[in-house]
């Protein structure tokens, strides 16, 4: 039992490892009474001496001198490639940045949505590229929800906010339009670098989350979901938001009451 317990200490002793004084004392006491462990210590010391000789013999080993030059060439090539990324890489990086920014904003908006959840859907959807407004069911529904007071939204992709249907407008008890606007600077975007170029990403946004972005909303449309365009700058940071429409019609909203 003692032999097994001290086995690794005997090895450490043979290898010249520093051991606590108490351990060394107990090992030496055991060795005085155990010829087998004493022989093992001697054997391990001889092995250590042989391995030391082998290690010393290998001290002068060196890799081929040609490797250093090859590494230097590889390093220079790598740095040159890093300094001038290809157009494809730059485009890929830009889209990754845009996607990341959209995801961040979507998460923030989803949090707002969870406070006052709309009737349908589990979270905001990011649509890129946006569909033509004239063929978008969501945009048409938004038109009915926000009413005729919603001004036309000028977008670089010819997306137009659908005009309200007169028939549906009459069903509003007290039309309180969501006020639309041109691009509104997002909180926190003021400190970002100047916008040099940007991309518009269309998203579905719960109206309840809009006050956080400085958008006035009508009480009867609090639970609607509207479409909004997010302007993402050249650095992937969102700069501004503008309202496009609402997902739910005012009729749908009223019918839930």
């Amino acid at each position: 039992m003692t032999c097994a317990r001290l086995r690794e200490s005997v090895l450490d002793l043979a290898r010249g490892e520093s051991l606590p004084e108490g351990v060394v004392a107990s090992v030496r006491q055991h060795l005085a009474d155990c010829a087998r462990c004493a022989a093992e210590l001697e054997r391990q010391r001889e092995l250590t001496a042989g391995l030391t000789a082998l290690a010393n013999d290998a001290r002068s080993w060196r890799a081929s001198p040609a490797i250093e030059a090859r590494l230097q060439a590889a390093f220079a090539e790598r740095e040159a490639a890093a300094a001038a990324p290809s157009i494809a890489i730059r485009r890929a990086r830009r889209w990754v940045s845009i996607a990341a920014a959209a995801a961040i904003v979507a998460l923030a908006l989803w949090t707002g949505r969870s406070v006052a959840p709309p009737s349908g859907g589990v979270g905001p959807a990011v649509a890129a590229p946006p569909p033509p407004a004239g063929k978008s069911r969501a945009a048409a529904a938004a038109s009915a929800a926000v009413g005729s007071a919603l001004p036309r939204v000028d977008t670089p992709r010819s997306i137009r906010t659908p005009r309200a249907s007169p028939a549906r407008t009459t069903r509003h008890v007290a039309p309180r339009p969501v006020r639309s606007f041109e691009f509104l600077t997002l909180p926190g975007a003021a400190g970002l670098p100047d916008l040099e170029s940007g991309t518009v990403v269309r998203m579905e946004v719960p109206v309840a989350a809009l006050p956080g972005y400085g958008v006035e909303i009508a009480p009867d449309t609090v639970k609607t979901t509207v479409q909004a365009d997010l302007l993402v700058g050249q650095d992937g940071q969102p700069r501004a938001i503008r309202l496009v429409g609402a997902e739910e019609s005012s009729q749908d909203t009223r019918s839930r009451r």
């Binding site: 090895l11 022989a39 001889e46 042989g50 391995l51 082998l54 290690a55 290998a58 490797i67």
Partner: protein
Amino acid sequence: MTADLERASDDLLIAGIAAGQPEALTLLFRRRQAEVYRFALHMSGRPALADDVTQDVFLIVMREADRYQAGRSSVTAWLCGIARNCVRQRLERDARLESLPKDDEQQVPAVRPDPIGDLARDERIAILRRAVLALPVRYREAVVLCDLEELTYADAADALGCAIGTVRSRLHRARAMLAAKLTALQPVEGDRAVTSDATSPDLSVTHKRCMA
């Protein structure tokens, strides 16, 4: 190459590599290539493979320098950990392509000319080297790192990605196997009678012949 950079610690050189300084890579290579090369050659017994591994290790360092965590372990342990993976990959690949060379085909470099007085010593070292090469890889790694490259248990554990206790137990097992290999490589019939070790008589004598 500035004098400041030449005096910089390994950690700073790795930071320099991450920052794109070619001099930092050159200096780190000059400082540490011998350790990487020795590890690879002890593990494989093949100088060409050791050269390839050394180059691979520093190419990886070039690529991964920004992920190095200073202070977590010694730079030697980090390099040996990379070298260990490279050696294993090459040995496994070579094992699939062809059988490993026999002991007498392995090309361990002859460091010195062979003056007559050194012949016996060279022979003893060659026997021990072959015994190390014959160990299973996991045990060979422990012996090479702890006994030949003299890493601490902690650094060896970091290089091998295991616990310190595992390193110690592997080293203990490796040295027991090494003793058995030495016995097999150089049986000494006539010396059995002179040993006093009743458990493995010829082992003790073999060690005395090979290790002295």
